[in-house]
């Protein structure tokens, strides 16, 4: 019998912060003190609080340690495990009250969350099916096997679950379409391509709780009358692929997958396909082409995949997070599920909270929570006491929501009305130092690069938009550029073949809507208000700090700096080409930009 269980977070974030070294050091210390049969080490999935990793929880006392290092292990074993004293300096310290917090649930980052889909992430060993089952796993599937397709679909429809992959299409209705498509062969496809830069929810669910996704897939198969599924996982997620394969093998061994599942007469098989690095393959028709071994290019819809999908057979495509919600609905009932969330958006949503907030990481919140609560309560506000400016939601298809709208409730419909979209769940907080024109340029360069090239509006249109934005950030913008951008944006939205092109202009449109003055400052005043665009910076020397060492005069390639030795120097603004050489050279931080 183990007396203590130690959970070490082995999500990708914590692994890169050194989890495995910590584990090895702990193992050595346990051996040294002959404690290996009393203390069990469990590597868990992502616990969410990546900023403070590696994370470490000791059970049964439920003490939460942050930023642990291998050097802390001797003390941890001797003080905590042997003598029973909590080590204060390793606890999380609340930045406002300076109080040490023992239990993770009392940390503000976790307090406002509602972890339903992530209920097991960071709590169980993802490579052990028994732990999943102990926490109610596969009970949803058992219920589904009793219920039959119509009843399952009714339950999912009544729950109000909408797709978490971006568009928010009602999941039950999608299943019904696929169920009603008559065919001898149908497929279930799980979309785990997660290409949105700045998002890692699906990865964390797959790595932290693969059985939840698997259970959702099997239930979907039962509902639509399919006997085979594909999970399409991004090439960059090797750990997720490995854990999923382990989960499949375990489920087969337990008779939860394969032939005649739990003696119900239902057969089901799950295959894993690795993507090969193309953002557009997240789009459902492109994804199907990619599974078929072709170039991953989208095709026009209709026919929708529910009618004609993989190898021309009816196919139901759902996102990882969508499917991970399903077992809960079937286990606890649709009424329970729909009690969380807002009128039009039920349940919770996982966000990857990143950017300029104090607490970056993964959080799951009830639909309808405000942006303020996420950024300031969960995220702990903006780093270094800077001023919050905007939050980017929905990645390359989404938009920037400004500070004025900080009390906007987060759900599918209100985000769309604000010009952004729920997207997959990336949420990037930005502060006063972020230039909104640069952000728009950044996203356009991303979509432009990822455009598959099949349709002209997307291929050429995004290129023209990007060129215009680049000119503006370089201080070569022209008065008519804004109107030009708006016209192009509308044409691209209306005429592109797939969602990539149809949503690509959103980051530009929202920044134009909320931050038009920044565009105008770049174009008319040749200034970047955030002080970010290098071509638009003016350099000057602070006479208080300048020692008159002449170092900057020597490096200036255009002889724009003058001054006597030991006297403060000056930069001749018209001559200066803003190369930044003086700023790099100055040892006294006397060269400034504005």
């Amino acid at each position: 019998m183990y007396e203590k269980h130690i959970l070490i977070c082995a999500g990708t974030g914590c692994i890169s912060s050194g989890t495995l070294d910590v584990r090895d050091a702990l193992q050595r210390e346990l051996e040294k003190h002959n404690l290996t049969d009393k203390v069990r080490i469990i590597l868990s999935g992502c616990h969410g609080f990546c900023e403070k990793g590696p994370l470490f929880i000791v059970y049964p006392e439920d003490v939460f340690y942050v930023e642990v290092t291998p050097d802390d292990m001797p003390e941890l074993v001797e003080e905590h495990l042997i003598k029973g004293n909590t080590i204060e300096r390793l606890l999380y310290k609340d930045p406002t009250t300076d109080e040490y917090i023992y239990n993770h649930e009392d940390i503000l980052f976790y307090k406002k969350q509602k972890r339903l889909t992530l209920r097991n992430c960071g709590v169980i060993d993802p490579e052990n099916i028994d732990e999943y089952i102990m926490r109610g796993g596969y009970r949803g599937l058992k219920n589904a096997l009793f219920m039959g397709p119509t009843e399952i679909i009714h339950s999912v429809k009544s729950s109000g679950l909408r797709g978490r992959g971006g568009a928010g299409f009602p999941t039950g209705i999608k299943w019904e379409f696929a169920c009603n498509s008559e065919n001898d062969k149908k497929y279930v496809v799980c979309n785990a391509d997660e290409g949105d830069p700045g998002a890692f929810m699906d990865r964390s669910v797959l790595e932290g709780d693969p059985h939840a996704v698997l259970e959702g897939i099997i239930i979907c198969g039962r509902a639509i009358g399919s006997d085979e599924a594909y999970v399409y996982v991004r090439a960059e997620y090797p750990l997720a692929v490995r854990r999923l394969r382990t989960a499949i093998a375990q489920a087969e061994e337990y008779g939860l997958l394969g032939e005649n599942i739990l003696n119900s007469g239902f057969d089901f098989k799950v295959n894993v396909k690795e993507g090969a690095g193309a953002f557009v393959c997240g789009e459902e028709t492109a994804l199907l082409a990619s599974i078929e071994g072709e170039r991953g290019m989208p095709r026009p819809r209709p026919p929708f995949p529910a009618v004609k999908g993989l190898w021309e057979k009816p196919t139901c495509i759902n996102n990882v997070e969508t499917l991970a919600n399903v077992p809960l609905i079937l286990r606890k009932g649709h009424d329970w599920y729909s009690s969380v969330g807002t009128e039009g958006s039920k349940g919770t949503k996982i966000f990857a909270l990143t950017g300029k907030v104090n607490n970056t990481g993964l959080c799951e919140v009830p639909m309808g929570i405000t942006i303020r609560e996420v950024v300031f309560d969960i995220g702990g506000g903006i780093r270094f006491g800077k001023k919050f400016k905007a939050v980017q939601i929905g990645g390359p298809s989404g938009g920037c929501i400004p500070e004025e709208q900080i009390d906007l409730p987060i759900d599918f419909d209100s985000l769309t009305a604000a010009g952004a979209m729920m997207g997959s769940g990336g949420m990037v907080a930005m502060d006063e130092d972020d230039c909104m024109v640069d952000i728009a340029r950044y996203f356009l360069s991303f979509t432009q690069n990822e455009s598959c090239g099949k349709c002209t509006p997307c291929r050429e249109g995004t290129k023209r938009m990007l060129e215009t934005l680049e000119r503006i950030t370089q201080g070569k913008g022209e008065a008519e550029d804004i109107a030009h951008l708006e016209n192009l944006a509308i044409s691209i939205k209306d005429s592109s073949l797939c969602g990539l092109g149809q949503t690509a202009p959103n980051p530009v449109l929202t920044t134009l809507r909320y931050f038009r003055d920044e565009y105008e400052a770049h174009i008319f005043d040749r200034k970047c208000p955030a002080g970010l665009c290098p071509d638009l910076l003016t350099y000057y020397i602070d006479p208080e700090l300048c020692t008159g060492c002449r170092a900057c005069i020597k490096v200036c390639p255009v002889e724009a700096i003058s001054g006597e030795k030991k006297e403060p120097h000056v930069i001749d603004e018209p001559k200066c080409i803003s190369c930044g050489a003086c700023l790099e050279r100055c040892k006294f931080d006397a060269v400034k930009t504005k």
């Binding site: 990708t12 900023e51 290409g195 700045g198 396909k273 071994g293 170039r295 990143t354 950017g355 598959c452």
Partner: protein, 170 residues
């Protein structure tokens, strides 16, 4: 030109098709196996050699252009040999707003290469990717399978040194 042709022929003559054939046998009769076939070949050789691609086309009885089309569509496939260590710097949104541009510039300067290029000594290939999925620790890069978070310009030299010295740290 003549010399180059001769060179290519020589390579082809020497090319060992056995490994490719093994891969093909593994996927015999499987539907839609093109991507995994190419992934396996790349695993063997580190890139996709031209004779191997031509062999795949012959074996599958499809035009070589089709194999080439798939190989060039996906960012993961490479048609030229790459360095011993692959550096992938994240250019995702979270990393962008936490200043990865400066880190990327510094890295390119240290290695004296551009995006997608390999150092002369074949030690490092420098690539930029859209998101590594460790956004909480931005800015982030990967060297081979190892992820480095909270990067600063100053840390790069030290990290590279670990790989310069000796064996692959994988």
């Amino acid at each position: 030109m003549g010399e180059q042709m001769g060179c290519a022929c020589a390579v082809e003559e020497e090319f060992d098709y056995e490994k490719v054939e093994k891969v093909m046998e593994n996927y015999e009769g499987q539907k839609g196996a093109m991507v995994p076939i190419l992934q396996s070949i790349q695993e063997e050789y580190g890139y996709l050699p031209r004779p191997a691609l031509e062999y795949v086309a012959k074996r599958l009885r499809i035009p070589a252009s089709k194999v080439y089309g798939v190989a060039t569509f996906y960012a993961q496939f490479h048609l030229a040999p790459r360095g011993e260590n692959i550096i992938r710097i994240c250019r995702g949104t979270a990393c962008h707003v936490r200043g990865v541009s400066k880190v990327a510039d510094k890295m390119k300067e240290l290695l004296a290469v551009g995006v997608g290029e390999t150092t002369e000594d074949m030690k490092f290939t420098y690539e930029e990717v859209a998101c590594i999925g460790a956004c909480g620790l931005a800015p982030v890069m990967m060297i081979n399978d190892r992820t480095y978070g909270k990067l600063t310009q100053d840390r790069l030299e030290g990290i590279l040194e670990e790989y310069r010295e000796g064996e692959d740290q994988g």
